[in-house]
Chain length 418, copies 2
Amino acid sequence: MAFAEFRPLDEKSLVEYIKYTPALASKLGDKFDDLKIREVGDGNLNFVFIVAGSGGSFVIKQALPYVRCIGESWPMTKERAYFEAVALKEQGHWCPGHVPEVYHFDRTMSLIGMRYLEPPHIILRKGLIAGIEYPLLAEHMSEFMARTLFCTSLLYHSTTEHKRAVAEFCGNVELCRLTEQVVFSDPYKVSKYNRWTSPYLDADAEAVREDNDLKLEIAELKSMFCERAQALIHGDLHTGSVMVTRDSTQVIDPEFAFYGPMGFDVGAFLGNLFLSFFSQDGHANQGNDRKAYKEWILQTTEETWNLFQQKFVNLWNEHKNGSGEAYLPAIYNNDVLLELVQRKFMKDLFHDSLGFGAAKMIRRIVGIAHVEDFESITDAGKRADCERRALNFARMLLKERQKFEGISEVVSLVRKLN
Amino acid sequence: MAFAEFRPLDEKSLVEYIKYTPALASKLGDKFDDLKIREVGDGNLNFVFIVAGSGGSFVIKQALPYVRCIGESWPMTKERAYFEAVALKEQGHWCPGHVPEVYHFDRTMSLIGMRYLEPPHIILRKGLIAGIEYPLLAEHMSEFMARTLFCTSLLYHSTTEHKRAVAEFCGNVELCRLTEQVVFSDPYKVSKYNRWTSPYLDADAEAVREDNDLKLEIAELKSMFCERAQALIHGDLHTGSVMVTRDSTQVIDPEFAFYGPMGFDVGAFLGNLFLSFFSQDGHANQGNDRKAYKEWILQTTEETWNLFQQKFVNLWNEHKNGSGEAYLPAIYNNDVLLELVQRKFMKDLFHDSLGFGAAKMIRRIVGIAHVEDFESITDAGKRADCERRALNFARMLLKERQKFEGISEVVSLVRKLN
Ligand SMILES: Nc1ncnc2c1ncn2[C@@H]1O[C@H](COP(=O)(O)OP(=O)(O)O)[C@@H](O)[C@H]1O
Ligand SMILES: Nc1ncnc2c1ncn2[C@@H]1O[C@H](COP(=O)(O)OP(=O)(O)O)[C@@H](O)[C@H]1O
Ligand SMILES: [Mg+2]
Ligand SMILES: [Mg+2]
Ligand SMILES: [Mg+2]
Ligand SMILES: [Mg+2]
Ligand SMILES: [Mg+2]
């Protein structure tokens, strides 16, 4: 058989693969003459091909046994494709409107076939850099997070289902370790992988490495990341894992998925909105001072959390007599008490989210993987100014997160800082 | 083959089983003529046989597919014997001085052969009821807890080892669910399984079920129990799972083992010492007012925590440059910082332990499974007085645990209450 063993595909061999795979061939109406295949992967890890012909289209994502942006010197299990496929299907099940449909998965080939998110879909991060407003973004992302996190937690399912799923995703350990390293460790120590806008931020990077209070807090978050199997989290929910149009919001790339703390996802998204905010001054020009856009970002951030909280609690109320085993109805049997536990739950989740969000910001400024929001600011001095403001805010947030009562306080502070 | 399928053994069929099992037969020097076999299981779940002859001895523990003290109407996987065997070996590896050696395990038969803890070993709970002092108890139990918890946590091993082990113990889900039910749920709701010294404690039991603040706190602990894979915990570390002589302390019965919060073990042990303390007035008589003994219990409780803390931190310091991935030496690279994180870690663990300890106390007074410390007080009014004091203390402790700075404060309060 042609593909009985793993092999990396290219534009040419992919045609053979598709012809040999009915689930994919049929998506093209079995028409191959006018097929166009283009590798478009701009992420750090994998290869992504757009396959389109007159009969239909799809995307093929293949994992190779190393980190794409580094090369074969940084091995990384290609089994991550398996966990991505399982997570895509699970998240698609709970939130079909915001996850591309999976057409095909081949474990041997570490290969996923899924819906092609056709133009005008673009990566959200690029839209934010371009200064485009997405009026439904907060609505859609809060929906995605509330539904996927709630429905994979003990608020919705039984301990038996939970432990089975937790055990399965323990298999995605290599990707978890990568996060541990690049988010929770490297930025706080000398590492050959770290980089920053030098020499401007040399002292700032050093200050991060010497901030004992910060290192105390990051330890707590790292433990939570490693130990707390609260829900199936996406694991990489930055603005580069979201594709958008004005009307559509689609979450891709959950290869880091595992059972972890909910706040890691919520924080990743909020933190990346803050990164975008702090980068805007670097993109301002005479035609557009980005003032209104910055305000839109802040409003969207606030709205995302508020809608998330609302939707999450609504799901809870809707399913409070369901099979979730965390809060049995016979115990949490009065409105006062239910509100009390929900308030406490959401407050803790809020603080977790702020902490993880801050950690994600810090690592994007002094760690290995930077974000295009800042990288595309060509003037290094200007870029460093933006980055420093973001970094200082994030350091404060990581250390003081417990003091914030609500998202509006955080957003007000950001508004003041910039 | 005679034992190719599971079957419950009795004194007679056990002889056949032993003859057919070289690992066991050899422990008896292959001498069967003077063999004495006695079923001695006094626990809630399983059957335990003491097998002794002139050539040697051992204990056989077999799990049946239901809860022994309830009967076949409460099914319970016999696979628990597998997890007990794995945990016994793991704990024995880290702390051989305080865990009986496993000679044999048969998964098909759900059967463990282990060292017979020969007389004068008795169950610690019985020793405490008899008013016997064990001068090495705090030293030994702190050693057992510090070593088994530290060495199975991310302070000692890598994320890769951790996730593999976590996944395996997710399989012990039925036992976890039993704990969820009897410790974290039933006492806080109406349940046919609950019982208490009625009518004396009717109002007290009802007050537990209607205490919103208490139910808020137990929810937090339950979540931690279900979600936080901090270390391989024993899972049932009460004073009935410890066998003692003046010189020896042996921890048995880890069938509830899984990767959970460390505080659940520490709390179980401390909480059961407090239960013993509060039961002592019920055992006082003209010959012995138990005053000195009560003081010994409090001193032992205090010493257990203090030694545990000391040993745990010593292990941490000893292994701070080892393969544990929680606190990398390149980050936690100065004494001030290391002390800071250790102090925070131990403070959190202390509060977790108080919370879980309190929960374990409450469930022994108003839940399904009671303790002999109180049950053996025949005068119901007297028993209820003892139980009420314990219950009130535990309710306070569960709600106010964060306010205690150290174990001496807790112990002082107990001294004052009784
Ligand atoms: N379903 C899709 N439809 C359209 N484009 C996609 C799709 N999936 C991925 N892409 C494109 O490929 C890029 C890389 O995909 P991603 O899943 O993020 O890979 P990586 O894991 O390497 O980061 C995305 O930024 C996007 O431009
Ligand atoms: N290794 C042993 N040596 C001596 N007696 C033992 C041993 N293991 C168990 N026992 C006796 O059997 C009783 C029940 O054992 P245990 O392991 O606690 O079973 P269960 O899981 O049913 O609670 C103990 O209380 C103790 O009296
Ligand atoms: Mg990506
Ligand atoms: Mg990716
Ligand atoms: Mg027992
Ligand atoms: Mg037991
Ligand atoms: Mg037992």
